[in-house]
């Protein structure tokens, strides 16, 4: 009898296709790509603003064009999914104890959504409608 342990190789590129939960994870990670692209577009907009009114108007026009609008809607959907997945896991990362008991996770998740809506509303009131 000899020892000759067999190692099963894992695909470095295709591993995430093996399990629905890995695909869900990759989807969650992928959402940040769209948020990143959206931020780059915002930075490009700031750059155009620094170049003068005509350039900024051009930027606004292209952002409101069909491609810009479709991307904004897709990015918004991904951003909401991103927030949803992260709010869902907050009770794991930040459990709260009241005396001897852990606060139910649903309350922590709900508090995050509440904070999100309060902050969004405040921002809306201060900055006003962007359109």
């Amino acid at each position: 009898m000899s020892r000759r342990p067999y190692i099963r190789e894992v695909s470095k590129t295709g591993w995430w296709l093996k399990q629905p939960r890995y695909i869900r994870y990759m989807a969650r990670e992928l959402t940040s790509l769209f948020i990143g692209i959206y931020v780059l577009i915002l930075i490009a907009g700031l750059h155009r603003l620094s170049q003068g009114q005509a350039e900024y108007e051009m930027f606004l026009a292209s952002a409101k064009g069909p491609v810009g609008l479709v991307f904004a809607i897709v990015a918004l959907a991904f951003a909401i999914y991103h927030s949803y997945t992260w709010f869902e896991v907050t009770p794991k990362a930040m459990p709260l104890m009241l005396g001897k008991k852990h606060l139910p996770g649903a309350i922590i998740v709900a508090a995050h959504w509440l904070g999100f809506f309060v902050a969004s509303t405040l921002l809306w009131l201060i900055v006003g409608s962007p359109v």
Binding site: I7, K92, G99, K100
Partner: protein
């Protein structure tokens, strides 16, 4: 009336004969109250005594009988035939080398577990005459869920980060480190930090969360790791804010 049966497709590997593992199919009787481990025991007792696998308690306490059942890391004593399809594919836990048949080499985990000092590091030695270390129910509640770990390795088998990087300390060891860090009787947090707060420690985890989904004891290792990340990031910033307060 013919007796109802199930088919087990079991991954076999004999290091003396085989270059690579291959599947062998066994037909076993179906019983309403049987778990997959009962079916495997039937194979061993009645059909093929060369089949190797680990098991002991048959009640989800010992953590020995973990295996891939239809691609999912599971305790075979905790998975009923009635919840499985008629063909059941059984493989050794993934992400571990196969020693023989369903037996994996778990040395890597054992080494990592030891490296996080999974025991109480007390402030001062106490003799038996000094009595117990006292703890309130609230202090116990802080870490109790993490004490339920049975070292069954399902979490390592589910973790894609561990699959891709052997250096990753991994879910169970990090959850147990967190369990002792949270224990009011323990002062070993800084002694564990070299391993726990390193890159192959908590920072290798990208929070896939698969470990917690497959854990048969609801330990939630993913939660333990995220909490350790927050505490460790806090330590990092405190170093700049209060450099005089060294550990």
């Amino acid at each position: 009336m013919t007796e109802r049966t199930v088919e087990l497709e079991v991954l076999r590997y004999d290091p003396d004969k085989d270059d690579a593992p291959g599947f062998q199919t066994y037909t076993v009787p179906y019983r309403e109250d049987w778990v997959v481990l009962d079916a495997i025991n039937y194979v061993k007792d009645e059909l093929d005594r060369t089949l190797s696998y680990r098991w002991s308690c048959h009640m989800a306490v010992c953590g020995s009988c973990g295996m891939m059942i239809n691609g999912e890391p599971s305790l075979s004593c905790h998975t009923f035939l009635r919840d499985c399809p008629e063909k059941i594919r059984i493989e050794p836990l993934q992400n571990f080398p196969v020693e023989r048949d369903l037996v994996v080499v778990m040395d890597d985990f054992i080494d990592k577990l030891g490296s996080v000092k999974p025991y109480i590091v007390a402030k001062e030695e106490r003799s038996v005459d000094d009595g117990e270390y006292l703890q309130t129910p609230a202090q116990l509640a802080k870490f109790k869920q993490y004490t339920a770990c049975i070292n069954c390795l399902l979490c390592y088998s589910a973790c894609p980060q561990y699959a891709l990087n052997d250096d990753f300390v991994g879910p169970a060891a990090l959850a147990l480190a967190h369990r002792y860090n949270l224990d009011s009787r323990d002062v070993g947090r800084s002694a564990r930090e070299d391993v726990v707060a390193s890159n192959p420690g908590i920072w290798e985890c990208s929070f896939v969360g698969a470990c917690s989904e497959v854990c048969p004891k609801s330990v939630d290792p993913a939660a333990a790791i995220q909490q350790t990340k927050i505490a460790s990031a806090g330590d990092y910033f405190m170093k700049f804010l209060m450099p005089w307060k060294r550990k």
